[in-house]
Point group: D3
Chain length 157, copies 6
């Protein structure tokens, strides 16, 4: 078993952008907007957790290479009354791409939002009937100046 | 800012089950079924990565408590020609629940599958038009013997 | 060489509070108050970093025991025009105290504030003539309900 | 795939002792005895690395449970002119044993000794013709007061 | 105290191969061959654990430099009825060699095999009379195209 | 939220030196000098913990970049009867400076000294009336051969 051997590949500029969303109760999204979540600011906390996770990717995903990330940026956006979107962009100058780092950042940010608003999402039995994470995908990659974007399919979201 | 203070809560048996799916190209799913993925066995690798991630939850999600997990179980299932499902069950005897651990395990397993099959999912421009992770949610929780399950909504997939 | 053997000590409630301060330029403290630090909110980021670090104490300090923390709370306060204070309180039910966890949280929070405001503190030569961290100490401990506080000496602050 | 489910096992006192040896050049062992290793004290460094590694076992060995270690002790002994022995004893009160923790501590300590004396062990081509780690094994376990020891076989060294 | 200062050394291609073996009961090796180990596939799990550990070397061995590994490959081989061998090859383009990374990978893989087959190796008293890890050594190094191999001594195996 | 984007900055030689002190009881410093601290050598242990922490900086401080450190050196000095000083120098060839790495090393070393001498510093109530960490600051930076030093203010020390 082996990681992909990137020894002889050139170190070039790489960038990847990933996104994903979390569905929440309308009341929870209202509380987020008002800054009334008891545990703290879920979106800010999510961004920090996402940045830290991006840097930890090669410890989480077994065959990922350790890469010298030169930037990680995470944005959050309330898409509608029950949806929060996280977008992560990761850059490096390395021998392989950073889409896994961008995806790890998005997933960890979304999970952190869930953790921050748990108390508002749980029903009486401790279940989360309204909460789910969806549409985690890579939306853009840049390789040495050449950029391309994913044409997202209707059915995804 | 504070974690939730669970100091005075009793240590009781807790269990949580989470699931999620990854959409892949039909050809990739065929290769998985045949055991022909060049980097290794994506489902087995995903399970190990998920178990390790569950144990690492309190380092990934800022306000999660460190918990003495007594079991983590991860199962994968090819749901249909383009969908792989991951299900994770986590157990502990602790002062707070383990749904975040189950969710972290599922998300990390799904991301690991993505990493293992990257080369088959990428198009000529390096994009992933067919790949996305969806429907990560908590499907069951048990608290000191009392079990409850989420009624999953039709619209989720 | 050995950790202190706490095998036969009872698991009792423990709490520790630590504090420390960072000296900054007056202009930097003004920017913090106005929410104008370019990299983000230094105090909020510091709190999250401190909570994560508290949970990581036994990996940072060689002879610390891994402890099941039941709460970590971090507060920040602008003491005067050039001083920010961080206070951390950690709780557990364990066989040994949590003062190292509280100290690690404070130190990491203070270092994070430094990192967040670096650009405003550096002079033309890249030096930090005004920035230093001081007075990191334990101010309170509670052991099974019995609380005691440190009488801080004048000379420290 | 699953960790062993220890949910219903009682938390009892557990102890495990493991040992292992590293073979070095006679000249290297002489330098260790004289305290002349340029990088520092290899035996002391090894002990610290071993203690830290023991606490990190559940992150290194995929199916190990996270356990609240109450003691880790590491001793080193120069057995003869070319052999250094590391012995590690780990204690806990938990639902499963700590032999993997003791073994991880021994292996990491031995690897650290290797790293500390690398420059004396390498030949002109950068090879290590004399260096190897051997006989890593569990020599003793205690379970709730009942102790047992391994009868080591002659052939092992 | 200091790491070796490699600041002024050139970044060149480096490769190191290490091996080691674990002795098991004949019955355990038979179960491995048949794919009948209850906890999962010990050899596959060992490979993943070894790759993850190689990437974690500078956190485990105090004076190791963090290196941008470009490949880690791990192979396992059943040498005879009671012996499993692990071989690890690590590559980088860096200022210092990767023998410690290769050794850490081998040691962690061997320890993981032990953990996966524990239940078959233990005797009635919980001891491991037949299990030990031996002959962990560096067998090959390559430095900028110049390869050399260790002449293994008879007495080692 | 974003790390500082250093993608287009050149990789140049960087060095940073930080210091800090810990105040202890005179009796504790005497015990350190005599090598009589029961838990081990606090200064040696502190150096190892500091070096390990420096390499872990980007996991501790949320917006720090992962950097390929080429050297970490830590020195300790008993300044007077109640003061121990730690000095850390970190080097890299990278796109951003290493002052945070040097500061993290110093802080972790000082915290480790605290942990190693805890039993001598505690009073009857478990408080630390004499122990505090102070004057953590950056004293020197080098950037591509250009060195500058901080003019330390009288009031700091």
């Amino acid at each position: 078993m082996s990681m992909v051997d990137v020894t002889s590949k050139p170190e070039i500029f790489r960038e990847a952008t990933a996104t994903g969303t979390i569905k929440l109760k309308a009341e929870t999204v209202r509380l987020i907007k008002k800054g009334k979540i008891a545990k703290g600011d879920p979106l800010y906390t999510a961004k920090i957790a996402g940045i830290l996770a991006a840097k930890n990717t090669s410890a989480l995903i077994p065959l990922c290479h350790p890469l010298p990330l030169t930037n990680v940026e995470i944005e959050t956006k309330i898409l509608d009354g029950t949806t929060v979107q996280v977008t992560s962009t990761v850059k490096t100058k390395a021998q392989t791409g950073v889409e896994m780092e961008a995806l790890v950042a998005v997933a960890t940010s979304l999970l952190t939002i869930w953790d921050m608003v748990k108390q508002y999402e749980k029903d009486a039995r401790g279940q989360y009937p309204h909460t789910f994470i969806e549409n985690i995908c890579v939306v853009k990659k840049v390789k040495e100046g050449v950029s391309s974007e994913r044409k997202r399919k209707k059915t995804q979201g």
